[in-house]
């Protein structure tokens, strides 16, 4: 078990399926599910093998000595957690797109995405990391462009271009690191080796900030989120944004701690702006899915604030919030997509009173909404509380304004629930029959289960999250 088969087998299989099976052929659906299950199995098995210090070596392939260009696969607790989260999300996404049109191509693109994303989280060679990082764009481009809503082409091209331009900064930073340190592996680079850490820091920060996304680099996300089909929005929010956060933690905070400390105020300020700006946008929005998208960005702002503390507790809180955000935002997107597919409208005023028509689905929507606003007993509460505490510890008492963000969250979520789920039943809802595919409902129920389970017993996660950062030398970010 070396892990490389989890990267290249899916890519090869997806090419095979895309070329030889067409239309609604269900084979690729089952292949996808099998591969994702195997991935989950693999990622969970990793936890037992992880050493207490350093990395678990999975192997080195395709070595080109002159360029230090080798596919080095190694994982630590951080990447194992990301791998597990990703494979759980992939399975649930596959289940919730069970009745997608043009299945064959759709699922083969999902399979290709899964291979690339595993490459991102497992490879520590800069160039290979970058290869997989960029490769994730290709299936996403097609997924948004083919299955998206009315303005899908615009959204897909904008997403592709915007994030590709940002990646160019990352590639340049990698080149500079290699030139200055002679090391092409992210686990071996120490800040002291670099001659121009500030330049490299800014290049990396901008590159990853676009992916996360951090204000003012977030403009691609609302478009992509809104136009993508609901399961793909889940992948975007749950996996692609997490990829940005993972890279930000691993290559900005951990690899360049001193410069990060110097610019902690930049990260903090942008994080706070991201959080408040998108919260206000979410309040203003009457488009249901855009509201969810802005709430997603707002939560990523919270993650950025947690990252900017540069402390063990802050990063642990950030990682917990990342997982929580994935599980909370996924059902919101899926159910928003479900409501749209039934009512034919995105506007909240066309909905209302759906609770009476579809009580179970609406209940999960309410639960996920309450998770997003941070109700005690859900993952949202634990995440926001731990971020609040760690940021107050690092930056002082004025960080209670983070709590204000949660209050704004309460504002837009409760108002949305009032307009969509409760309230007067609108004409459209009266004449609509809300029925959901059982398999898709099971996926939603699993998300709901996770939100409550890890909300009530956060230690189940912190047991793994806390050791993730203990091996690194962090400085802690005082302003």
């Amino acid at each position: 078990m070396s892990g490389i088969e989890l990267i290249f087998t899916p890519i090869a299989v997806s090419a095979f399926l895309a070329l030889f099976f067409r239309g609604d052929n269900a084979l690729s659906k089952y292949v996808a599910l099998a591969i994702f299950t195997y991935m989950l199995n693999f990622s969970i098995a990793l936890f037992a093998q992880l050493p207490s210090e350093g990395y678990l070596q999975l192997g080195t392939f395709l070595n080109v000595e002159k360029f230090n260009f080798a596919l080095t696969l190694q994982v630590d607790m951080l990447s194992s957690i990301m791998l597990t989260l990703t494979s759980i999300l992939l399975i649930l996404v596959a289940l919730s797109s069970w009745s997608m049109k043009k299945q064959s191509l759709y699922f083969s693109l999902l399979i290709m995405f899964s291979g690339a994303i595993f490459g991102v989280f497992m490879s520590t060679n800069f160039l290979w990391f970058f290869i997989f990082w960029e490769l994730t764009l290709v299936p996403m481009y097609f997924l948004v462009g083919i299955w998206g809503a009315e303005r899908r082409v615009y959204a897909a091209v904008k997403f592709f271009l915007y994030t590709h331009v940002a990646s160019m900064f990352i590639l340049l930073a990698f080149f500079l690191i290699y030139k200055e340190s002679g090391v092409f592996d992210m686990t071996l680079v120490k800040e002291g080796m670099l001659l121009s850490p500030v330049l490299i820091w800014w290049l990396l920060f901008i590159g990853f900030a676009v992916k996360m996304p951090i204000f003012p680099f977030h403009t691609w996300l609302p478009d992509a989120h809104v136009q993508a089909p609901a399961p793909v929005s889940v992948l975007l929010a749950g996996v692609l944004l997490k990829m940005g956060a993972y890279a930000m933690i691993r290559m900005v905070i951990i690899m360049l701690p001193e410069t990060s400390q110097k610019y902690a105020w930049v990260i903090l300020t942008l994080g706070l702006i991201t959080m408040f700006y998108s919260a206000f946008m979410a309040i203003y929005e009457t488009h249901l899915k855009k509201m969810v998208a802005y709430s997603s960005i707002s939560h990523m702002g919270l993650v950025v604030v947690a990252i900017s503390t540069l402390s063990y507790s802050g990063l642990s809180a950030a990682l917990y919030e990342m997982i929580g955000h994935a599980f909370i935002i996924a059902p919101l997107f899926l159910i928003a997509g479900f409501f749209h597919s039934k009512t034919g409208s995105w506007q909240m005023e066309d909905m209302g009173g759906i609770m009476q028509k579809a009580p179970y689905v609406s209940a999960i929507f309410v639960l996920a909404g309450l998770g997003a606003l941070g109700l005690p007993g859900t993952m949202g509460f634990v995440g926001e509380l731990s971020i609040l505490i760690s940021s107050i510890k690092s930056f002082g008492l004025w960080m209670v304004i983070v709590a204000l963000g949660s209050m704004l969250g309460a504002g837009y979520i409760i108002w949305t629930l009032r307009r969509v789920v409760y309230g007067e039943m609108s004409e459209v809802v009266k004449s609509t029959k809300f029925s959901m595919n059982t398999i898709e409902f099971i996926a939603l129920a699993v998300f709901a289960l996770f939100i409550i389970l890890f909300g009530l017993f956060p230690n189940l996660l912190f047991e793994y999250i806390n050791p993730a950062f203990s091996q690194f030398n962090l400085l802690g970010g005082a302003l």
């Binding site: 070329l19 290869i131 897909a156 990646s167 080149f175």
Partner: protein, 427 residues
């Protein structure tokens, strides 16, 4: 030593006899196969890999080609390419360079339409000019005391240095560097697409590799003077090429301008000569480019001949009509755009790293942003192919089985060099 050259030359001459028989294509393929075997055992180490790849690409071109004269010409182009790559002294370089130009001109002068005539005339004038400039530089060089039968170096006098710079201008003509790019956009877009594949895919990369091998030692000694000049033209070339390629309705024009932009990336290797990676970079970039550019133009040829498609608009929904060809075309376009796991990405990455290694990170930043910009028009073609609806089923005109086989050979190259870098770095 250059048995492969003799083989290709002899096969080219003899193939004329076989015109109008079914034997021509197998015969030409046999010639390329034989030369491949001989290159494997008897080529100079530093260009061996590239010669082999040129032969593979020409194999694919011949496989694709249905025009008899073009098949013969392709063999001659192969012979001249090998001669050019093997040349070590300045004189042999000049002779090989001129024969390649001459054959290219003859290749495009198979005129069937007015458009092709325009392209051919422009190419002819540009080639004649380039020749004149090259000989001007050569005479300066000799006047300054340079020796023709030795590798290029300038240590005797000023005139030698001036002569070399004038010769560089002639090469920039061939490599379609701004401001000498005017002819290329029209020629590539207007001559037959399979000829454009040979010109912009094969001939361009061969010239770039050969001139890098000849000129690198000279440039390494004249960095202060040469670098600002070459950096300026390279950046202008890639930026202009990319901006002109945006919003092109005609696919061939888009590919021609993107070819100009790629020439801009390639000559960045000339400013990074002091880096040990410059040679690997230009080699990798050329390998990637020869596969993807030839393949892209050959697809255009199939599209024009079999489906009568010339413009972007007519391509909408093409994936529903011919999924395999659409996928092959998209892979090559993504490679041209520099998307990873394809050769185009690693080619650019190694080349740009060489420039970073030479200390010019800001040049690379501009080049990378250019490369990102180029995604706009490639992604737009892919958008047409996959996202748009198919309006009318296109009529299917010709049998394209051997062309698809050629495409598969080329896509194999693009994929192989996108993952396995070992061959290029010599390990």
């Amino acid at each position: 030593m250059i048995t492969a050259f003799y083989i290709l030359f002899a096969f080219g001459l003899f193939s004329i006899v076989l015109h109008r028989t079914f034997l021509l294509k197998p015969f030409a393929l046999l010639g390329l196969g034989l030369s491949f075997v001989y290159t494997l055992s008897g080529a100079s180490e530093n260009v061996k890999l590239f010669e082999l790849i040129v032969e593979i690409v020409l194999f694919a071109v011949v496989l694709h080609e249905s025009d008899e004269i073009s098949i013969t010409q392709t063999l001659f182009i192969g012979a001249a390419s090998i001669l050019l790559l093997e040349s070590k002294s300045l004189l042999s370089f000049v002779i090989a360079f001129e024969s390649l130009s001459l054959i290219s001109v003859i290749l495009v002068s198979q005129i069937k339409t007015k458009d092709q005539a325009e392209g051919a005339v422009k190419m002819f004038i540009a080639s004649a000019l380039a020749t004149g400039i090259l000989f001007l530089g050569l005479s300066f060089y000799v006047m300054g005391g340079g020796v023709l039968l030795e590798p290029l170096k300038a240590e005797n006098s000023m005139f030698e240095t001036i002569g070399v710079f004038i010769m560089l201008i002639a090469l920039f003509y061939k490599l379609t560097i701004v401001p000498f790019h005017g002819w290329a956009a029209d020629t590539y877009a207007k001559v037959s697409h399979s000829h454009a594949a040979l010109l912009s895919g094969v001939a361009k990369t061969v010239v770039v590799i050969a001139s890098f091998n000849i000129f690198a030692p000279f440039l390494a000694e004249n960095l202060d003077f040469a670098n600002p000049l070459i950096i300026t033209v390279a950046l202008i070339t890639m930026t202009l090429g990319n901006f002109l390629a945006l919003f092109r309705e005609n696919l061939a024009q888009m590919l021609s301008y993107s070819s100009i932009a790629h020439a801009g990336y390639m000559i960045l290797a000339f400013v990074a000569v002091q880096s040990e990676y410059a040679k690997d970079g230009i080699l990798y970039m050329s390998i990637a480019y020869i596969f993807m550019q030839s393949a892209a133009f050959l697809v255009l040829d199939i599209l024009r001949k079999s489906y009568k498609i010339r413009n972007l608009k007519e391509l909408s929904g093409f994936s529903k009509q011919s999924p395999l060809l659409a996928a092959l075309f998209s892979i090559q376009l993504l490679s041209l755009a520099g998307i990873p796991l394809l050769a185009g990405f690693l080619g650019k990455a190694v080349l740009f790293y060489a420039v970073v290694d030479a200390g010019l990170w800001w040049v690379v930043l501009i080049a990378l942003l250019n490369s990102a910009l180029s995604v706009a028009y490639y992604a737009w073609v892919i958008k047409s192919i996959y996202f748009d609806a198919l309006d009318t089923q296109k009529v299917y005109f010709a049998n394209i089985r051997s062309s698809v086989m050629a495409q598969i050979i080329l896509v194999a190259g693009t994929l192989y060099f996108g993952i396995f870098a070992g061959l290029v770095f010599g390990t």
